[in-house]
Assembly symmetry: C2
Homo-oligomer: 308 residues x 2
């Protein structure tokens, strides 16, 4: 799957991922009205509106991008119908040949991590039958419990040729309270980065490992350090656009081959029609606004990489 991600990035010339994190406030009125009209102002109605919104955006941008990253919390908050909309979104994006990164940030002790891994990127067995319930291609994982909480995910990746992005350094304001604390003179996130590199060594695709890292875009300098610590890991970089990062801040996250990083934008793409810059599309043409925002993001990042 990491080879597929690399191939898709090379084909689209777009080291980006679109975050499918639909809040109801992003969804145009005409979609909400239709879904609520059919299913009521219910969890089912909300989940249907999310699905219709996602589908329109995916239909508008799929040919430009290698991957999407649905944030499961935005679906899970709407209960069972929300989870069903998540799975339907994963399946639809895979039909469009997109790589799907499930942003689930799970992580627990061994047997529990094994259950998460089975449900999201692996298989569960019921009697003589086998199922892949949520079937993402990659998932994000929280490493706070250490190796044995991560190992069940690694085992499933090896078997299924799927991948992980481990949280190393997030982009939220209080990320530093724990992640930046110094241990033997080096911040905690560097130690986690070293673990990611080590976990990834045995799970190599071609030039890159199945095991990547999440590193926020907020401090470009950290990109340089972590890039060195994890030379063969893809870095998933949230924080583009809405969270403040721009193409020129992100060049250090990439390797010399122009690969090794994939930059996420969520609100900046899926709610583009709400920004002044794309307001002329109007709510009816929200998906076209998203396509224009994707094109602008690709141009910004590629421009910065060329100027590097």
């Amino acid at each position: 799957m990491i080879n597929k991600l690399t191939a898709k990035i090379q084909k689209t010339k777009a080291p980006i991922v679109v975050g499918l994190d639909p809040m109801l406030g992003y969804i145009p009125e005409h979609i909400l009205r239709k879904s609520y009209g059919e299913l009521g102002e219910t969890l089912e109605g909300a989940a249907d509106a999310i699905w219709q919104f996602n589908k329109a955006i995916v239909d508008a941008v799929w040919d430009l991008i290698p991957a999407v990253k649905p944030q499961i919390a935005m679906y899970e908050q709407f209960g069972i119908p929300g989870m069903a909309a998540f799975e339907r979104t994963v399946a639809y994006c895979q039909e469009k040949d997109l790589v799907v990164i499930g942003d689930i940030k799970r992580g627990d002790i061994g047997s529990t991590s094994a259950a998460y891994a089975a449900g999201h990127i692996g298989k569960v067995t019921v009697g003589n039958h086998v199922f892949s319930p949520f079937h993402e291609d990659f998932v994000t994982v929280n490493p706070y419990l250490g190796t044995d909480g991560v190992k069940p995910f690694l085992d499933v990746c090896r078997e299924e040729k799927k991948g992980l992005f481990l949280l190393v350094k997030t982009s939220n304001p209080s990320r530093g309270e724990l992640q930046d604390r110094l241990i033997e003179g080096r911040p905690l996130y560097e130690w986690v980065g070293e673990k990611v590199a080590r976990w990834g060594e045995e799970l190599m695709g071609g030039s890159y490992s199945y095991i990547g890292a999440v590193v926020g875009a907020t401090y470009p300098e950290m990109g340089r350090v972590l890039r060195r610590i994890m030379p063969k890991s893809y870095i998933l970089v949230p924080g583009y656009g809405a969270q403040g990062g721009q193409g020129r801040d992100l060049v250090h996250f990439f390797n010399e081959d122009g690969l090794g990083a994939i930059v996420n934008s969520s609100r900046g793409i899926i709610a583009a029609y709400k920004q002044e810059q794309y307001a002329s599309f109007g709510a009816e043409h929200f998906a076209e606004a998203s396509r224009a925002a994707v094109e602008a993001m690709i141009a910004d990042i590629n421009g910065a990489l060329e100027a590097k």
Copy 2:
């Protein structure tokens, strides 16, 4: 909800929680046969078997205990039907007036944590209607992202009078890789414990805070230290029985009032009939074996507390 937990512990004289973490391998053949017969060897069949198994155990033990802790991973691995069985289990335990601790270990940046908090212990609004999708009473939360990842959960707790257990120190073998690392001479988990105490100060029930901590039973001495750092926080202690802890190892997790800790056992209770000690019940009477195991656990812990 923390006051309800305390009242229920005092009434049952049982500072314990039963972990409803059903693996298919724990479920007796006659239940599996019935569920698969009705729904096939499908995710629906597996989810039904889990639900039937849980219901029988809850019916057998509810009057002895204050709380249950369903581990969501064990449900989530069976996809949408599994998540529905989770919600049904939560609802059923609440009908039995049990406090429900959803072991979900979620945690993300602000807006995403807010979505998890809304979906699990709060409310979501769809048009003019309000829903509580998973409606647990407490949830477990991973603090790796720091205060702003936790704050949305705190806000919901304040509004809904619900509670949290933050991961401070887990009981898995590699917990130490990050959690034990020294920062200014003190292990990371102590710093996290201090944060828990601070976050909890503004969310007090009677004598205890709505904000508790998860601390594994593996090293009794840590219980003493963390008890002092977080005097007003309940400590949820996994690792009893199957993971090796016993009543006498747990006394330091309790305050002088005999409160402040709640000890979890999962496999040791729900799969008791598979242990030599309770094998005479047989698979048909698995729920009675669970009741006997609950009684033994209560006696062990209370005996240790009296001998303290």
